[in-house]
Amino acid sequence: MAKRNILIACLSSFFLLTILGCGSRQGSGEDGSSNTIRVEGSDTMVNLAQAWAEKYQAETAEITIEISGGGSGVGISSLTQGLADMANASRKMRAKEIRRAKNEYNLDPQEFTVGKDALAIYVHKDNPLEEITIAQLTTIYGEGGTANTWAELGITVTGTENQKIVRISRQNNSGTYAYFRQHVLDDNDFKLGTIDLSGSADVVSMIEKTRGAIGYSGMGYATDGVKMVKVKLDNDSPSVAPNAANVINGTYPIARPLLIYTPQEPTGAVKDYLDWILGQTGQTIIEEMGYVPVK
C-alpha cells in the first residue's frame, strides 16, 4: 500500500511539473516575443540556419532564435498563418500560398535570396556513373520513364544482384522535391515507387548504405560515402560538376536560390537578423556550410 502511495505521489508530481513547465515556457514566449525569432522551413537550409543562429546569438545576447525544419512547405504554411517570423525555403512560394496569406491572414510575404545551392545528384561511392543528362534523370524519375535498371544507363553497379535503380526522393512538401519536379521533370509527376525520405541528410545517408541508389539533395550534404555526379543539360553540352564556381558562373543546370520569406516587410529584430545574414559574416557562414553566397 505504501509503495502504491509513493508511486501515485511520484506520478502526480511529475504531471504537475510538466504542466508547470509548459506554463512557464509559454509565458516567456509571450513576454519576450520581440526578442525571439521563430524560423521554420526548408530541410536543405536547416543546418545553415542553425549555424547562422548560433553565431548571431553569440554576438547578440538578447536575441533568441528558434529553428525548426520540416520542409519548405511546412515553413511557408506556418508563415502564411502568422506562426513563424521567417520561413526558409528552397522553392518559391506558390501563387495559391501567397493568396492565402493575403486573403485569410492579411499578410504580405516578402522574399529574400540569401544564398545559392547546386541540387546535386548523388550515387553510392562505388557506382561507376560519372555523368548524367537531364533526359536520363527524367527516364529514371519521371512518370512514364522507362529506366529501371542501371544496365539501361549502360553501366554495371557491383554488389546489387538485380541492378535495380533504387530511386530516393523526398516527401512531397519538400522544396527540393518541388524544385526537382519543376526543373528536371518539367513539372510532370514522379514515377511511383520512389523511397520518400523526410530529410536532406537522410537522402545522403540512405545512398551511402544502398549500392544501387540514386538521389538528389543539396550539395552541402556530401559525405565520403557518396559521389556527386556531373550533370549535362543534354547530350551535346559539357558535363558540369556541382560546385560553387559552376553555380556562380551559371553553367550548372540545376542550381537554385535559397530563400527566406518574412510575413511582412521586416522590421526590428527580424530586419537586423536578415541584414546580418546578407552581410559579411552571414555570407561567410554560407560558404563554410558548403553553399554559395549571393554577394
Binding site: M1, N5, I8, G70, G71, G73, V74, S77, T80, Q81, K96, E97, R99, R100, N103, T160, E161, N162, K164, V166, Q171, N172, N173, Y177, A178, R181, Q182, D187, N188, D189, F190, L192, G193, T194, I195, D196, L197, S198, K209, T210, R211, G212, A213
Partner: protein, 331 residues
Amino acid sequence: MLLLLLLDRNTTKGNLSFRRSFQQLQDRLEPVVVGVIYICGWSAILFVIAIFVFVFKESLPAITGIGTEIAAGEIEVEQLDLVEFTTSPRWIPESSKKPAFGILALIVGTLSVTFFSILLAVPLGLGAAVYVSEFAGNKTREILKILIELLAAIPSVVWGFIGIVIMNPLITNLSGEAVGLNILNAGIVLALMSVPIIVSVSEDALRAVPDSFREAGLAMGANRWEMIYKVLFPAAKNGLLAAVLLGIGRGIGETMAVLMCTGHSVNMPTSLFDPVRTLTATIAAELGEAVRGDLHYHTLFLIGVVLFAFAFIINLTADLVVKGVRDQSNV
C-alpha cells in the same frame, strides 16, 4: 479512490464511535464517488464519439467540395473523386499539374505488412504463451513475463531504428536485394511489436482455464501436447482470438515503426522485398505540412476515416466471433 482506501484503513483501526462517524461520512460520500465513476465510464464513450465526429467532420469537405476564390466572383471548386480515391494506386497529392488522391497502394501496403506480421507473430506469440503458462516453472515464468512486458514497453521509434540500422543491412546482405526497407523488414519489426500483446492476452486466457480441464485431459490418457491442443485451445478460444485480433489492430494502427521500416514508397507490391507505404505513415508524414483547408488536408482526414472503418470492422468481427464461440460453448 485514495480517500476511500484511507477511510477503509481508519475504520478498521478506530473504535466504535469513530467507526460510526466514518460510516456516516462514507454514506454521504457514496453518491459523489458513484457519480465520479459514472462520469469516468461515460467519458470513454464521449471521447470516442467526439473523435469520430471531429475526424469525420474534417474529412467531409473533401467529398462535398472545397471552394476557393481565385479572382473576384470566380470560385474554383476542388473535389475528391471517390472512385479514384478507392481504386487508383496513384497518390500524388502535391502534383503541380493534376493531383491524384488514390489510396489503393496505401491500403495494399497496410494490409500486406499487417498480414505478414500476423503470420509471424501468431505462432510465435501463441507458442510463447503456451510455454509460459503450461511448461515454465514458477521462477522462469515470472522472469519471462517481466521480460515480455518490457518488450511491450519499447517505444515504436526505437523499433524503427532497429529496422533501419540492423535489419536493413541484414536483409540486403542476405537477399542481395538493392534495398532492405520493405514489407519483410516492417513485417518482422511489427511482429516483434505485437508478440508481447499476443503473449500476455493469450497467456491470461490459457491460465483462466480451470486446472480440472487439464487433469481430466491427462487422466484420459492424452499426453501434454494433445491436452494443450485438444483441451486447452478450445477452452481458451475466446481469449486467444481476442489476442490475435488485438495483434492485428496493433499492426494496422502502428505508425512510426512502419514509417521508418517500409521504405515509405507508394508502390503496389509484388514481392516481400518491395518497399510500400501505409495509411498511417502517410497521415503522419503529410498532415503536419498540408495546407489547412486544402483538398490534400481533408483527404488525409478521410484516410483517418478509412482507418477507423478498419478498426471498427476488426473489433466487430472480434465481438461477433467471440460471441459466437461463447454461444456454442454454452450449448
